[in-house]
């Protein structure tokens, strides 16, 4: 009898329709507004993507407030790197107690973006930034260091210049 009534009065269908109906109304009313977004998909090439805060992008070196490189060449990142993409040469600078890197090479073609280097760093001097459009035509574009304009460790590099977002 209970089964019979359940077939006769479609409560389950009503519940399902209510669920999809509320989702439809939420997205329908907010789809074209800039501020509130209820939908989970993103219009990537035209609209820049919102990434999660812990997204692991390309390795970047940080500078402190005085513009000094934070890295002290403890080589922790170089040692822990599973694919050995980091090469550091240390040097001295006047007025600075700790060592300063004269070379910090990062070969991104082999990087697996595991973030071990950032975890191992005791001075918070490197992070993985949010740059993810990392395709390039030449192998040289992937070797990133401290020198040069196009491929340096401090800013977004030229590697992702074929990004859809900032073309033209």
């Amino acid at each position: 009898m209970k089964n019979f009534l359940k077939t006769l009065i479609p409560v389950d269908i009503y519940k399902g329709l209510k669920l999809t109906g509320t989702h439809f109304m939420k997205v329908f009313t907010t789809a074209n507004r800039r501020k509130v977004k209820m939908h989970v998909t993103q219009e990537y090439p035209e609209v820049p993507v919102k990434l999660a805060p812990r997204f692991r992008g390309r390795l970047t070196m940080l500078k402190d407030e005085q513009g000094e490189i934070k890295c002290v060449c403890c080589l922790a990142c170089e040692k822990i790197c599973p694919t050995q993409v980091i090469t550091i040469e240390s040097g001295k600078k006047e007025g600075r107690k700790t060592k300063i890197p004269t070379r910090y090479d990062f070969e991104m073609e082999r990087c697996i973006f595991c973030e071990f280097c950032v975890e191992s760093c005791g001075f918070d001097s490197i992070i993985l930034n949010h740059q993810f459009e990392l395709a390039a035509y030449n192998r040289e574009d992937f070797s990133i260091g401290m020198l040069g304009k196009d491929q340096n460790m401090f800013e977004l590099t030229h590697v992702g210049k074929f990004s859809y977002s900032d073309e033209d």
């Binding site: 399902g16 329709l17 999809t20 997205v27 209820m38 939908h39 035209e46 859809y164 033209d168």
Partner: protein, 392 residues
Amino acid sequence: MNAAPVTMTLLQTCVMAVLQAICVVLFVFIIVPLTIYAERKVLGFAQDRLGATRIAGHRVGLTGWLNRGMWRMGKVPFLSYWRGLPMLVGDIAKLFLKEDIVPTKADRAIFLVAPALSLIASVVVFAAVSFYPGALFTFPKIVPIIGGLPFNGCITDMNVGLLFILGIASVGVYGIVLGAWASNSKYPLLGGLRSGAQIVSYEVPLTLSLLAPVVLTGTLNFNKMTLALATEMPLYAVPILFVSFFVYFTCGFAETNRMPFDMPEAENELVAGFHTEYSGMRFGFFYLAEYINMVVVTAIASAFFLGGPYLAPFGLHRYIMHVPFLGAPNGLWFVAKMILLLFTFIWVRGTIPRYRYDQVMAVAWKYLIPFTLILVLLAAMVRYAAPALPVA
């Protein structure tokens, strides 16, 4: 309501019929692509997506090349990006341009005729559907042949309109079954057989659920039925109409092969069902026929159960009869109700997954048919109890 009958010559009748047919075909071929567009968007929104938003790539192809100029100017290229609406043009262009392949072993003549049969059966139904009782407007005397004649809300106001609709609508299954058989392939054949069994089964409760309004009104004339159902029903007939509306709408899903009952093209079992071997515009015919069938089902549901051109559904019209604008019959109400029901079609598709085949048949034979028989019995009792109801 109906104006005094105007005597028309044969030529006048023909011109009038052609004009009205053109109007109806235009209406159908505007509302069907919009339904296809709405299907994409509504399904997307219901699943927290955006649906179709563009037709072109960013820089690929002709549209991409055009769009690149727009991006350079700092504007979103409206031509191909306007909320995915231009995708309709792309759809139609694709259907026309694609190669039309006929399998070598197919039964050629039947293979070619079947989609047309399916499409014609679904379009011809509109000959008897009335969008508005009486004349929409009268042509001025200056118009050469048809001056002074009224432009009616329906093409033909025939005495057995409902019978005509049901008869023609059931021809549509021939298109599916013949096309499936002529494909000479096992999946279409299975899909066609399923579809034959399913549509024939569901035609019984569909017709029986429409029999309750017929019994209540005592006529098969589309206009008279709409008028009587909207204005002259006693209050205790409302529950019957309410329930038979839901039964009719459920059967409508099965008749149009829509999602909870789309056995004929169960794509995870039968590739694409009856239209597996079809391509190009012939596939497009089947595709269009499905959507036109949806429009037909919604038109009949909104005419008989939701009051048609009268705003209040289920015969509740008398309570708003004297409200100035809302009380008067209006073709817009009819179309608005159709759009609402078309939305429901898509909404249900986004909600309910496909039933198993034996469940589909069990619902028809074990539940809906006895249920509708009881409804017809109740309707007969209402008619017996209410002598005020019109006699045809």
